[in-house]
Amino acid sequence: MANEVQPLNLHTKSWSVKIILAIFSILMLILVVGPLVWLAVHAFATEWKFPSYKPTGLTLEWFRKVFEVQALKEAMKSSFIISPIVVLVSAVICLPAAYASARYNYWGRRTFLIMMFSANAFPKIGLFATIATLYYFLNLMGTIVGVIIVQVLGTIIYMTWIPAAAFASVPKNLEEAARDAGASKFRVFRTITLRMAMPGILVAMVMSFIYAFDEAQGTFLVGAPNIYTMPTAMYAIVETYPIQVTAVFSILLTIPSVLLIGLARKHIIGGQLAEGFQIK
C-alpha cells in the first residue's frame, strides 16, 4: 500500500527551500542516530571522560561482565521464555477472530470492533494500575502468568487486525474454485487461505513478539520485584552498574527487534503493518 503510489516529484528550484530541507535532514540524522550511536559506543569503552568526543580506550571486557551478573542472566532467561508464550497464547486467542472478522458477518460485529478500539483508548499506565488491583485478588501479582496476561493484552490488537486484513485479501473466488474442483473445506483453508494470509500472520507474530519482548511498564508494575524481564531489569541496572554495562545490555536487548523487523521489513513498511497499525 505505502509504496504503490509514485510521488509527484515536485522538485523546487528555490535554493532557500533546498537549504532548509538539507538542514532539517541533518538535524533529524543527529537527533535520531546520535543518541543510539553514543550509547552503543559506550559498550566498547574502557573509560570516557567529559568533555571528550572519544573514549580513553576500547575493550570487549564489558560483554563478559554482563554475563557474570546473575540478575541479568535471569532477566534474559525470563524474557526468552515469556515472549514466545505470549505470541502463542495471543495467536490461539486472536487468529480465529481475525478469520471470522474477514469472512463472516455476525451479531455484535460493530460492538466488538468498538470495544477493541476502546481498550486502546485508555492511557496505558492507568490501565496497568487497575489490572494490578484485580491481580491482588487473583493472586497473580509477581507471577509469570500475570506478566504473560499483561503482555498478551497489548498484542491482541496486532494479532486480530493485521491477520484480519490478510484473510480479507484472499480472493473468495479462488477458494470457491478449489471447492468446485473437489477440495475439502479444510484443505482449501490450509492450502489456499492460510498460505496466502501467511505473510500477514507472520508480521502480526513478529510485532507481537517485539511488543512482548520490549514491554516494560506493565511488566514492571505487576512483575517486580519477583520477575524481571530484560527491559524491566534496565530500570534497576541503570542506577547500580556503570554505563558500559547498561550499553552492552541495551545492545543485547535491541538485537531481537532489529533482526525480526529486518526480516519482515518489506511487509511492515510495505503495507501489512500500515493496515494493521491503524489501531496499534
Partner: protein, 313 residues
C-alpha cells in the same frame, strides 16, 4: 497487498444487509473480546468502585495490603481518596506537567509527521527515503533503551553537553526537565505517526493534486485545501493516539523527567509500588482517564470511520 482488493472483498461481504449472521463467526470472534473484558473492562469497573471506597468483594485483598485505603464505612460512597490526591501539594504540578507535555509532544509529532509525509508524497527521492527511514528507526528500539540512550546523550556527560562545551557554551542540562520528556515522547511516537500519515497521503490520487495544479493552485494552497482535508481522519488518529500514549507513558518521564513535579505515569507507578498506596494510585489513573476521555472518544470515532471507509464494518 492491494488495498483496493481488500476493500472490495470486505464490501462485498458486509456492505449488503442480507449477508447472513453466522453463529460460528460470533464464537470465533468472542475470545479476544472476553480477554479484554476480563482483564481491562472488569478491572476498570472494580477499580472505579475501589476509588469510591468499596473495599469489599474482589477489592478486599488490595484494601488489606494497601496503606491509607479510604473505606466508605456504610455510606453510599466516599470521595476521601480523591480529596487525598487533589489536596496533595504535588497534584497541580503533576497535572500541569502531564497535560503540557502531552500537548507539546502531540504538536511536534504532527509537525514532523505531516512535514515528512508531505516531502515523501510531493517530492519523493532519496532525501524523503532517508527522512522516513530515520523517523521509523525508533520502531526498532525498545522504549527503555530509547529513554536511556536519550538520557546519556543529553545528560551531564553526553554528546549534547560535549558539543556545546567545545563551542564555549555553558548551558544547563536538559535531562531531568520537561523538555527532555517532550523530546523522548516525540521520539517514541514518531514511527506510528509517520506510518499513519504517509499511508493517508498515499491514498490521495495523483490526478487530484495535478488537477489542482492545472487550475493554477500553488503548492501551499494544494496542501491546505486538498491534501490536509483528505488526510483528515489519519491526522485525527495520529493526534489522539499520540496524546493518549504520552499521557499514559511511564518509561520516558521516569528516565528523562524531573523528580517533582512529574507526569502521572511516574506518580501512579510510585504510589502503587514504592509508597504502597494503591487507592490513591487508582484515583490518579481515573483523573488521567477523565482528562483523556474527550480525546479517547475522538480516537474511537476516527478509527471507526476509518474502518468503515475500508469496508471492515
Amino acid at each position: 497487498m492491494s488495498t483496493a482488493t481488500t476493500n472490495q472483498v470486505a464490501k462485498e461481504s458486509f456492505g449488503s444487509k442480507d449477508s447472513k449472521l453466522s453463529v460460528l463467526g460470533f464464537f470465533m470472534a468472542l475470545p479476544p473480546i472476553l480477554v479484554l473484558g476480563t482483564f481491562i473492562g472488569l478491572p476498570i469497573g472494580l477499580a472505579f468502585f475501589l476509588s469510591l471506597g468499596y473495599t469489599g468483594g474482589l477489592n478486599e485483598v488490595i484494601s488489606i495490603i494497601g496503606q491509607d485505603v479510604r473505606a466508605r464505612d456504610g455510606k453510599l460512597f466516599t470521595l476521601q481518596a480523591y480529596q487525598d490526591v487533589i489536596k496533595d501539594p504535588r497534584f497541580l504540578g503533576d497535572l500541569r506537567t502531564t497535560l503540557l507535555v502531552s500537548l507539546f509532544a502531540t504538536i511536534l509529532v504532527l509537525f514532523f509527521s505531516i512535514g515528512i509525509g508531505l516531502i515523501q508524497r510531493l517530492r519523493g527521492g532519496k532525501l524523503s527515503s532517508l527522512l522516513t527511514a530515520l523517523s521509523l528507526t525508533p520502531l526498532f528500539i525498545p522504549v527503555v533503551i530509547s529513554a536511556w540512550a536519550l538520557y546519556t546523550f543529553y545528560g551531564g556527560a553526553g554528546l549534547y553537553q560535549t558539543l556545546l562545551k567545545s563551542f564555549g557554551f555553558d548551558v544547563p542540562q536538559i535531562t531531568s526537565t520537561v523538555v527532555a520528556i517532550v523530546i523522548g515522547s516525540v521520539w517514541t511516537s514518531l514511527p506510528f505517526a509517520i506510518l499513519m500519515i504517509t499511508s493517508g497521503f498515499q491514498s490521495i490520487p495523483n490526478a487530484l493534486i495535478e488537477a489542482a495544479q492545472d487550475a493554477g493552485a500553488g503548492i501551499v494552497t494544494i496542501i491546505r485545501t486538498v491534501m490536509l482535508p483528505l488526510a483528515f481522519i489519519p491526522i485525527v488518529i495520529v493526534a489522539t493516539f499520540t496524546s493518549i500514549g504520552v499521557m499514559g507513558s511511564f518509561t520516558i518521564p521516569f528516565f528523562l523527567g524531573p523528580n517533582q513535579p512529574t507526569m502521572f505515569g511516574v506518580e501512579i507507578t510510585n504510589f502503587f509500588t514504592a509508597y504502597n498506596r494503591p487507592q490513591q494510585s487508582i484515583v490518579m489513573a481515573f483523573i488521567v482517564f477523565l482528562a483523556a476521555s474527550g480525546i479517547a472518544v475522538m480516537y474511537i470515532w476516527a478509527n471507526f470511520r476509518s474502518a468503515k471507509e475500508s469496508g471492515r464494518v
